[in-house]
Amino acid sequence: MYGIATYNASKAFIKSYGVGVANAIKGTQLYFPAVMAQSALESGYGKNIPTGSNNFGGIKYAPGLPGVIGYVSADTTEWKNGKPYKTIQKFSKFKDVESGFKAHIQVLLADRYKNARLKATSPEQQILMIAQAGYTTGTAKEYLDAMKGIIEAMRDISKLGRIS
């Protein structure tokens, strides 16, 4: 379940970035609500991304990714042995919003997430499998729990699953 604030923020997020994400995930087997919810959570609905980074996926600095023009250092919470701790990390800085989203999708298209893309039967399961494959430093269950309400809202609003 989710509240009205989540509903409104999710709807605004879809209106702003939904078409771009749909373009990027077409035919990839990624669920639209999963990718939108992940981007929303990682970026605080676009409001908490490292300043000037256009990084909606919380992607660590990876100079080989298309669109990366450098990095920004930012405070973040990481997990070690089941415990959260604050640290400063380098995050990829993208030249524009579109590049940021494309890079997020490109990360999810890596081989390590192939099972999640092909075998998941719901966006919730896909996020769980992505987390289990190493997307987050926290536990997969915690990652999904943080996102469940947003996934539900994204599905309820868009009425979309996979895009063919």
């Binding site: 879809i14 209106k15 749909a22 077409k26 639209f32 609003i157 979309l160 699953g161 895009i163």
Partner: protein
């Protein structure tokens, strides 16, 4: 309201919530299992 009315109201509420949850679950399963053609997906997003 008398006691009987409260019982009926309670049963009705439980049935309504249960029915809604079943409907929602079925709808979500259908959305998850049915890929949407690209053009239709874009239209859905633009119509929001």
């Amino acid at each position: 309201m008398n006691k009987k009315s409260w019982v009926y109201l309670g049963i009705g509420t439980i049935l309504a919530i249960g029915g809604w949850l079943i409907y929602r679950n079925n709808r979500n399963n259908k959305i998850d299992a049915t890929p949407v053609p690209y053009d239709e997906a874009i239209k859905k997003i633009e119509d929001l």
